[in-house]
């Protein structure tokens, strides 16, 4: 069955923690590499999860990332508690960012994260409630259906 979960793992992401930022996507990358997922797919997943993880670190208070591997696809769900996104269409625009000057100095805030996630994913769903949090669901196929 294509929907069966072969493997799943949950990760906690702490907002504002730049020291640990990127660890979750690194771990997911190494899981995928070690189970022999095609390297182009690993790259897509690594980029998408890194951007999603960073968005929690930069724009939210805390979040959970759930990683699921099925025989055909990789599902990533990131749910955070934070300020939420007011205008999703605007947030999806390349170059749009509300990152502070300080974050820009660290190399973030190009406004490319969400567009990059979408570009690398086969399924992309973004919902948000202002003042509550944001939910991002992506899927990336690793086997042709």
């Amino acid at each position: 069955m294509p929907g069966t979960e072969l493997y799943q793992k949950e990760f906690f992401i702490k907002g504002g923690d730049f020291d640990k930022a990127g660890e979750v996507s690194t771990e997911i990358k190494s899981i995928l590499k070690s189970v022999g997922i095609n390297s182009d797919i690993v790259r897509k997943v690594a980029i998408a999860t890194f951007e999603a993880e960073m968005n929690v670190v930069i724009h939210a208070n805390e979040g959970d990332l759930k990683f699921i591997l099925t025989p055909v696809e990789i599902r990533i769900t990131v749910k955070d508690k934070g300020k939420g996104i007011e205008d999703i269409e605007l947030a999806m625009k390349e170059g749009y960012s509300t990152a502070t000057e300080e974050m820009r100095e660290m190399g973030f805030g190009a406004g490319m994260g969400l567009p990059n996630i979408k570009k690398n994913a086969d399924g992309f769903e973004l919902t948000s409630e202002v003042g509550v949090g944001t939910l991002l669901k992506i899927t990336i196929r690793h086997k042709k259906a």
Binding site: L6, Y7, G22, S25, T26, K29, I31, K33, S34, V35, G36, I37, S39, D40, V42, R43, A46, I47, F50, E51, L69, P71, G107, A110, M112, N116
Partner: protein, 434 residues
């Protein structure tokens, strides 16, 4: 596929002190029964283990002057690092004279070819549309690191041959014609700063045959060469009938970190040296954290090839000598540049076969089986202390768990999970007798 390597562990000298295992960037070393063993699939010939070994039990093997006997006519292609190995009053021309004295029939310096490759890379950068950064293929260790540990970055390696290969291709034809000998009787020998370039000649990363026949380490010829040069200078000998060398800045500067970026002039570049730094940058690239770099120049050795393990002069001193040589050039090397512009044939410098990631037999089973192995790993990692003591014979607790899942180690090899193992090690390392 069998991989050839330049490293050899002397089993008599090795006493399993784990230093090599700890520094190996690809976790290729395990210590079994008190002796280090290198996994040929994972070894990238960086040579970091050679320096780490307190017993000097690991050495790198290159060809030697005796191998010249295999050919009727021998042409040396020196790595540009050679020109930074001697005191400043020994000029490049003296070095060429010295090489002829010690037994080479001709010497070919790679200035023109470096300019050709410079132009080829420039063109490639201009036309390339894929993911950035593009990665220089100058250091064979870096190519192999990517093939082994960063398979999804293989396509970012610039698929253009090094100057020495282009040179060897032409040199063989040229001297076969000039001497009337068969091409197979002409030996083309690279004088190498490192074992990895020898491996790049014996077994190119793209799995084709090199145009070079042998690689001799600079340290191997240094003493005879130095004395030939000093004697030659005293007697004012002229054994070289080729006339004086024409060099340009490019080939010399490519012996130094940053040299390629300076001559290729990419819009945004980054230069990194030494394995831990390279690995950090590669991890960032894989995550997409480094987005705005066009050209990435990486060298396994501190300072670039002047820091190669088969060079003799100190890295920093050699760097200064090369820089001095460049600064003392009368012009930009106009003659060389002119020659290169005349010879340049766009598209003629690609490697003849695509680079591929190295296949690790351990991951060549189905995803389902891999996941079973991963679960074994994860369960074991939870039981392990995570102190990476190395006494199990693997570099980290998680590498050990990986070995167990691949059937290459037993859970009881961990000293904290088995008192017997500890006892065994006490005997093996003779701790009570000391």
């Amino acid at each position: 596929m069998d991989f050839i390597h330049s490293l050899e562990i002397d089993q008599d000298k090795c006493c399993g002190k784990l230093h090599c295992m700890r520094v190996c960037p690809t976790h290729a070393i395990r210590v079994k029964n008190g002796k280090a063993v290198i996994d040929p699939v994972l070894c990238i010939d960086c040579g970091d283990c050679i320096l780490a070994c307190p017993q000097q039990a690991i050495k790198s093997i290159t060809d030697s002057m005796r191998d010249l006997d295999k050919f009727k006519f021998n042409v040396a292609i020196p790595s540009p690092t050679l020109f930074g190995q001697f005191q400043m009053d020994i000029k490049p021309n003296d070095i060429v004279e010295g090489l002829i004295t010690i037994g080479f029939d001709a010497v070919h310096e790679i200035s023109v070819e470096s300019e050709l490759i410079n132009m080829a890379i420039r063109d490639y950068l201009d036309e390339y549309k894929g993911p950035l950064p593009l990665i220089s293929s100058a250091c064979p260790v870096v190519i192999r690191l990517i093939q082994v540990a960063y398979p999804n970055m293989v396509k970012q390696i610039i698929p253009i041959q090094p100057p020495r290969e282009i040179a060897a291709r032409e040199v063989k034809k040229h001297y076969a014609k000039e001497t009337g000998l068969k091409e197979s009787d002409i030996g083309v020998i690279y004088l190498t700063p490192c074992p990895s370039k020898m491996i790049a000649i014996k077994q190119p990363a793209e799995d084709v045959k090199s145009h070079l026949d042998l690689a001799i380490g600079i340290s191997e010829i240094y003493n005879p060469l130095f004395s030939a040069i000093t004697k030659g200078k005293q007697n004012n000998n002229k054994v070289n009938k080729q006339g004086s060398l024409h060099q340009s800045r490019t080939s010399l500067s490519w012996a130094l970190t940053g040299g390629q970026s300076v001559s290729i002039k990419p819009s945004r570049f980054l230069t990194v040296a030494q394995m831990p730094n390279i690995i950090r940058i590669f991890d960032d690239i894989e995550k997409g954290k480094i987005r705005d770099i066009e050209f990435l120049e990486c060298y396994a050795c501190l300072g670039g090839c002047v820091g190669g393990s088969l060079t003799v002069e100190d890295t920093f001193v050699a760097r200064s000598k090369i820089q001095n040589l460049i600064a003392s050039m009368e012009d930009e090397g106009e003659k060389v540049l002119e020659d290169a512009r005349r010879k340049y044939k766009k598209g003629d410098y690609y490697i003849s076969q695509q680079l591929e990631p190295r296949k690790n037999p351990d991951v060549l089973v189905s995803i389902e089986e891999q996941i079973i192995k991963m679960k074994i790993r994860e369960n074991l990692v939870r039981k392990l202390p995570g102190i990476d003591c190395g006494l199990c014979g693997a570099p980290t607790c998680s590498a050990f768990a990986g070995d167990v899942s691949n059937g290459k180690a037993k859970v009881e090899d961990c000293v904290l999970l088995s008192a017997e193992r500890l006892k065994e090690l006490q005997d093996e390392y003779n701790t009570d007798k000391k």
